[in-house]
Symmetry: C2
Subunit: 354 residues, 2 copies
Amino acid sequence: MNLDDFLSRSRKRLAGFLTEFLDAKKSETAGVNAWGRDVTERLGAYTLRGKMIRGALVLLGCRAAGSRITQDAVRAGAAMELIQSALLIHDDIMDNDILRRGEPSFHRRYAALGGRENIAGAEHFGLSMGLCGGDIAIFLAFEALAGMRTADRQTLAAVRLFARELTLVGLGQMQDLYAGATSRKISEKDILDLYLYKTARYSFSLPLAVGCLIGGGSPALRRGLERCGEHLGLIFQLRDDDLGMFGNEQEIGKPVGSDIREGKKTLHRHLLTERAPAGERKKLEKIFGRADASEKDIQVVRDRAERLGVREEVGRRIEALRRKAEAGIHRLPAAERYRTLLHELLAYSITRKK
Amino acid sequence: MNLDDFLSRSRKRLAGFLTEFLDAKKSETAGVNAWGRDVTERLGAYTLRGKMIRGALVLLGCRAAGSRITQDAVRAGAAMELIQSALLIHDDIMDNDILRRGEPSFHRRYAALGGRENIAGAEHFGLSMGLCGGDIAIFLAFEALAGMRTADRQTLAAVRLFARELTLVGLGQMQDLYAGATSRKISEKDILDLYLYKTARYSFSLPLAVGCLIGGGSPALRRGLERCGEHLGLIFQLRDDDLGMFGNEQEIGKPVGSDIREGKKTLHRHLLTERAPAGERKKLEKIFGRADASEKDIQVVRDRAERLGVREEVGRRIEALRRKAEAGIHRLPAAERYRTLLHELLAYSITRKK
């Protein structure tokens, strides 16, 4: 079974569980008020539109531990996806994003509902309802997780692992907000720490570790998976930044240069500012964060980043991480077929064009 | 020991645990970024400023179950208070409240920080940072809860109880937002359901039930406590509404009539609209929700509510609930001293002037 098969099979199982779980919650909350039905349906549709890679990694972690994919692993994977929905919903509020996966973002749908019902301040109404929806997704995730049937000790360890890691994600998000807003210089270490906690550990290490825990894997395997997850996740993020700056608009599905226009403090930007001669630096810094930067402005940034070897340097970092990840996966005390899936995931992280 | 003593002793123990727990998290997250220290300190100060009644009710539930107050009960009480902080922080964002307990609300402090650092869009920066802070408080609460040391089975049951009830609180909050914003008529049942889920069950039933569970109480006791909690909580909310409309400004510490100016859909308002003759009804409805309603307008609403027997009717509802609560507490299979504390809490709910 290759990675694509594994992901699509996982997605199916996760979707099945989520549908059942949310349907049950819908019935359970029907008596509370009309929002019980409303929000469970919306959260279901929202979550099911995702690729569910994090949920699938829970299943992969469980498999790597030598276990079959249990109902509990599926449950934990689904909890992971509900959390992911919650974080995306809250992120879109913070970033004022009106679109998510090509459709109106979660809170914007409530703003639209407010508009249809002539509610004064429909925008803020939407934001507030979205905020609640995100909170509810968090509560549902913990309920799903705490409902596992295996050893209670293991279930509790999974709950703690989740809760602890999510606090770090929250701190990463705060740093992201601050870095994006402040005119202070953000150090390279700050940028990489943000990538580590907001993306890498949360999206890769956490699901693999939770799956390993549920599958009864050894502490050594769990540590190994967490470590590989960190490398994989950092590569994923650096590649994301690279696509955001140099990618093909048709392929990545969002305007190239949006990271530049949003003023994101990426590693590319950091290196570019470091390397540019003083005169040029000011000019470049004026382009970052300007929502109305022209195509030509964006092209200037891209050119300089190429010319000053920024892209090459990021490529070198990715290559160094790839070697570490490669070696880490190779050493994992897990069956070869699951190591192969991780190798495939690593290759995909590096070569993906969107 | 009377209720005041019990509450102040509980508060001390909860504060002690919270301080220790958050200090540990501060050290643990110090390496992530500067926000680890920042947010744990803020959440600590914020939570410690509260009366911590919900946390104390966890301890009371544990006592009622015939147990001494264990470290786990204190831990669960502290988790309850962290959740309460999270909900208040998110609520203040939704309600655009700039003050909480006489000081700038959580997100407004971050907006002020943004202002000091010349961050563009400091308001939205504050909102976003506050949103993250609330999320982190939720994650910390679940981490604290899942760290209990008693029987794992019991701990998991407590986590599930928390998560499940919090979803209902979220739905109550959505209904509250909608009811406050829509021009549609909200039925009496909707209002009372909102009171039940957003206030009564969450603030009274949940902590008592969690405490009972940790103390090893019988299912019968737990059900009894939950039921008493519902009655107590409804009384508390109705009394709150009454103080908001008729209370003494000096005593309640907020402008009388603020519920009227905010357009809150209270039971008082519902009954008033039902009972007012058609001509008068329109005039009254124009006053509700008008932020600039004059003192005289507020007085008109108060007079009509008195004259049309609205206040009396709410008083009758409170009395009916009081009788049920009274009987419920009397029947609880718990030691007399803890039933006495609940009787005291009931009396306080009814007679309180702020």
